[in-house]
């Protein structure tokens, strides 16, 4: 039996560089872990000799309040960043699940693209600088603490979404933006034959909500109760005037979609929104697999329905979250127990990818995860990506096999 991989938690970039460099020279494979909250989005590394835990690399490096910039070590939990910034009236729209555990580095490495990105942009668009430990132990910096910088390639953004296969993020610098003063959420059960119309109405609002979802299932995880076709969850953020006008607009838009009652909640609106985001990757023990696909607005609802139809044919239970603003569809399929799921999931996965080749796995604690098409169809530029991996990590030291196309 293979011995358990050694686990280290370096406290500095230099220490991380020495450890990784030594592994690289010795031909040992390194798995990089943060809060493990988005682990299910990628494949398990094919071999692990050493687990490098980045969570000891935490804390603020520079909080430049007057510049609206912040530099943190990559192992810092998102919640720490959010709390610090909230006290200054600022935020960075990470919008990632489980912010108490999720690290800044892990969120960036996973390329997490949250529901408010249609309004505020992606997290990558707030990244103004980075420090990375490369496979050979080199420490490389990019960008800085200025909000505009075109000196050389944009290496910081380039590492975003690379799942630690190009380097280990040890520091990230951000620009921050003012937190909108007020937030309000809307909950509405959807009667029969209103789901598609509601999605269209929400996407067409003239004052764009920060987030708008059509949810089905996820009882106890996402607030509100399903009608015949699920429920609407929307979040708006802004001034008093915006809340007032947007509320009228959302109510009448949903009314036009045939949704009679809309509940408006101000207290804890953002926390309520965060529970939706948590649900994106929430697992029912080992009984579920969650798939995600980025369609464009208008296509997401159809995607979710197609995935649900395939699941139905495999007698799997489904729950879904459709992001009406960005066009993301997230579907969790589950069965009575891990064995029941295990018996069907591979054939389901195959059938699903025939219909939706780009569907990715968002979350799964199931033992069968490695045999699923976790990454979906490879991207058009896979060859370029493989060549980049070979140039950055020729010995395949970092997270081998974890990424798309065997990278």
């Amino acid at each position: 039996m293979k011995a358990l991989a050694e686990r280290v938690a370096p406290q500095s970039a230099e220490a991380a560089g020495e450890i990784v460099g030594a592994c690289d020279r010795a031909g040992e494979k390194v798995s990089i872990v943060g809060g493990n909250t988005l682990e299910g989005m990628s494949l398990p590394p094919e071999r692990v000799d050493l687990t490098l835990d980045v969570t000891a690399l935490r804390g603020v490096v520079a909080n430049e309040r007057a510049d609206l910039t912040l530099a943190v070590r990559a192992g810092t939990p998102l919640q720490d960043v959010a709390t610090l910034l909230a006290a200054q009236g600022m935020f960075v729209p990470f919008d990632a699940p489980q912010p108490l555990y999720a690290t800044v580095g892990g969120t960036l490495a996973a390329g997490w693209a949250g529901p408010r990105r249609h309004l505020y942009g992606r997290v990558r668009d707030y990244l103004i600088g980075s420090t990375v430990v490369l496979a050979d132990g080199t420490i490389a910096r990019a960008g800085g603490m200025v909000v505009k910088n075109v000196a050389g390639y944009d290496m910081s953004r380039f590492y975003v979404g690379s799942f630690g296969t190009l380097g280990i993020l040890v520091q990230a610098n951000f620009k921050t933006i003012p937190m909108p003063p007020h937030a309000r959420c809307f909950l509405a059960p959807l009667p029969e034959r209103t789901r598609e119309r509601a999605a269209v109405q929400l996407a067409g609002l003239s004052i764009r909500p920060s987030a708008a979802f059509i949810v089905r299932g996820f009882e106890n995880a996402v607030d509100g109760e399903d009608g015949d076709e699920g429920r609407v969850f929307a979040l708006i953020e802004g001034s008093d005037a915006l809340l007032e006008r947007s509320t009228l607009e959302i109510r009448s838009a949903l009314g036009r979609a045939g949704v009679p009652e809309t509940q408006v909640i101000d207290a804890g609106a953002r926390a309520s929104f965060e529970r939706v985001v948590d649900a994106y990757v929430a697992c029912l023990g080992e009984r579920s697999v969650t798939y995600g696909i980025t369609a464009l607005a208008g296509g997401a609802e159809r995607c979710a329905l197609e995935i649900e139809a395939v699941a139905l044919r495999h007698a799997l239970r489904t729950e879904s979250i459709v992001d009406a603003m960005n066009g993301d569809a997230v579907v969790r399929v589950s069965d009575a127990d891990a064995l029941a799921l295990g018996a069907k999931i591979e054939t389901f996965d195959e059938a699903l990818h025939e219909v939706q080749p780009r569907a990715r796995v968002f979350a799964s604690k199931h033992a069968h995860r490695a045999s699923l098409r976790v990454w979906g169809e490879p991207p058009a530029a896979l060859e370029q990506m493989k060549a980049l991996k070979a140039r950055f990590d020729p010995n395949r030291t970092l997270n081998p096999g974890r990424f798309i196309g065997g990278i």
């Binding site: 460099g21 020279r25 430049e64 309040r65 007057a66 510049d67 609206l68 009236g89 942009g121 992606r122 990558r124 668009d125 050979d136 080199t138 420490i139 490389a140 910096r141 990019a142 800085g144 603490m145 200025v146 505009k148 910088n149 075109v150 000196a151 050389g152 390639y153 944009d154 290496m155 953004r157 380039f158 975003v160 979404g161 690379s162 190009l166 933006i177 003012p178 004052i207 802004g238 001034s239 005037a241 915006l242 006008r245 980025t294 464009l296 607005a297 208008g298 066009g327 990454w375 979906g376 490879p378 991207p379 058009a380 530029a381 370029q384 990506m385 980049l388 140039r391 990424f403 798309i404």
Partner: protein, 461 residues
């Protein structure tokens, strides 16, 4: 051989090799450049592929060129090479209103896209001052900014996917919607050294319902910049915060009659966009901070025409300096926003010491300075003084924690300054990306990377 093959592939009308034609393409808005071996005007992605293959066979480097408004010599070859002009690939290929996206060709003029999308209630946010002539392809190459990047972000935030011809003449595509490495981010701002963009999917934004522009007068540049730092520090990020000093304002007024007060030592141009109901209170909050920092007057534009005139003046500022001196050199540095007053003092001191007239017109909210150094190219002493002044300003920005380019790029001009902000390891890491996309260094060679590091090979110790 080169000419014959290019003509055979694209027709004589697409190939220029006459000396007078080549001379035109040996300049951009920077002063220095070499003469290309040939200039080619492709009409399709397929043409671009053919050109790249022919150039490669003939051992000629390739320099992609938009409108040639770049200020760092990024779009001119240093010696020989094929210049690929996108003047004939300048269309909007697709407008997807529901998803607020447009697919465009690289030669499309920046401003044309917003014009095209306006009837759908949409606009393209990055708006470099050159937007009436500069192209999307060039904007992508430099990751161009502009006044409105303060709240909307630079070009990279607005590119969702690219079609690219690589150094071997093959096409590949990138998309933010796809899983995998963010090749879009690597390509935007790579100044034509990693690939040649042949079309781009761009993000459009919804036109705001309420836009307010105010002109604020100050008695000195220091107070104006302190006001900007204070507005930012208060957590207010308007859509634009631009400063012009008296040198610039007078030139602008003489050229455009835009409505700027010429007696003020410094002008702050504030734009705020949002909901109708919020306009007044937001404006009041900004005005209060400006007044605390010595604003002498605050005048809001009362009509769209007045707002347009103010912006036309602001964006035409550099050109208007032709009234002050025959030539100007624009420095482009970015500092942390709280360091603006210090950075401006450094600019003033550097210019005074070298006897150079300086005009300041810049994206203050981003900490992005653009001192315009006035001179006469025919006077060798003045040229030397300008070079020295620019250099001192560059170093001052670096010493304040800033960078050597906020939005214009590195190009040929600043390649050797890269070592002042990046270590050898940092540059070698960028070099690894280059190794993958352009191992033979045939795409816009001698740009970005410091001289002598073209073939840098860094191996683990």
């Amino acid at each position: 051989m080169l000419r014959e093959r290019l003509v055979e592939a694209l027709g004589a009308g697409a190939v220029k090799t006459e000396p007078e034609d080549l001379a035109v393409y040996s300049f951009d808005a920077y002063t220095d450049g070499g003469r290309p071996s040939a200039v080619v005007l492709p009409q399709s992605t397929r043409d671009v592929c053919a050109i790249v293959k022919i150039a490669r066979d003939c051992g000629e480097p390739i320099v992609a060129r938009g409108a040639g408004t770049g200020l760092c010599g990024g779009a001119v070859p240093m010696q020989g090479g094929v210049v690929l002009s996108f003047a004939r690939m300048n269309g909007v290929l697709e407008l997807d209103v529901a998803n607020r996206r447009a697919r465009v060709q690289p030669g499309l003029i920046n401003r044309e896209l917003s014009r095209y999308a306006a009837s759908s209630g949409l606009f393209y946010a990055p708006d470099p001052s050159s937007q009436l002539i500069s192209t999307i392809g060039g904007n992508i190459a430099t990751n161009a900014g502009g006044p409105h990047c303060l709240s909307y972000g630079t070009t990279v935030n607005h590119v969702v996917g690219l079609e690219v011809v690589d150094a071997s003449g093959e096409v590949f595509t990138t998309s933010l919607d796809d899983a995998g490495y963010d090749l879009t981010a690597a390509l935007v701002g790579s100044e034509g050294t990693l690939g040649i963009v042949t079309s781009a999917w761009l993000k459009l934004m919804t036109l705001p319902e309420d836009v307010r522009v105010a002109v604020v007068a100050f008695d000195d540049l220091g107070s104006a910049s302190a006001a900007v730092s204070a507005i930012i520090a208060a957590g207010i990020v308007p859509t634009a915060l631009e400063i012009m000093d008296a040198v610039i304002t007078r030139a602008v007024e003489a050229a455009f009659h835009a409505g700027y007060p010429t007696e003020a030592a410094a002008i702050l141009l504030v734009e705020h966009a949002g909901l109708r109901e919020d306009g007044e209170s937001c404006e009041a909050a900004i005005e209060a901070i400006a007044r605390e920092h010595g604003a002498r007057s605050w005048r809001s534009a009362s009509s769209q025409a007045e707002r347009d005139a103010l912006w036309a003046g602001r964006k035409g500022a550099a050109g208007a300096t032709g009234r002050i001196a025959p030539n100007y050199y624009t420095q482009d540095v970015c500092v942390p926003r709280s360091k603006l007053p210090e950075a401006l003092r450094a600019v003033e001191a550097a210019a005074a010491q070298n006897g150079i007239v300086v005009g300041n017109v810049f994206h203050a909210g981003d900490g992005n300075l653009h001192p315009l150094l006035m001179y006469d190219r025919r006077e060798r002493k003045q040229v030397a003084a300008v070079v020295e002044t620019g250099n001192v300003i560059l170093q001052a920005a670096i010493d304040l924690g800033g960078t050597i380019s906020g939005e214009h790029g590195v190009g040929w001009e600043k390649r050797d300054a890269m070592t002042r902000v990046y270590s050898t390891a940092d540059l070698a890491t960028m070099g690894r990306v280059r190794d993958v996309f352009d191992p033979a260094r045939m795409l816009n060679p001698e740009k970005i990377f410091p001289s002598g590091t073209q073939c840098v090979e860094v191996k683990a110790p």
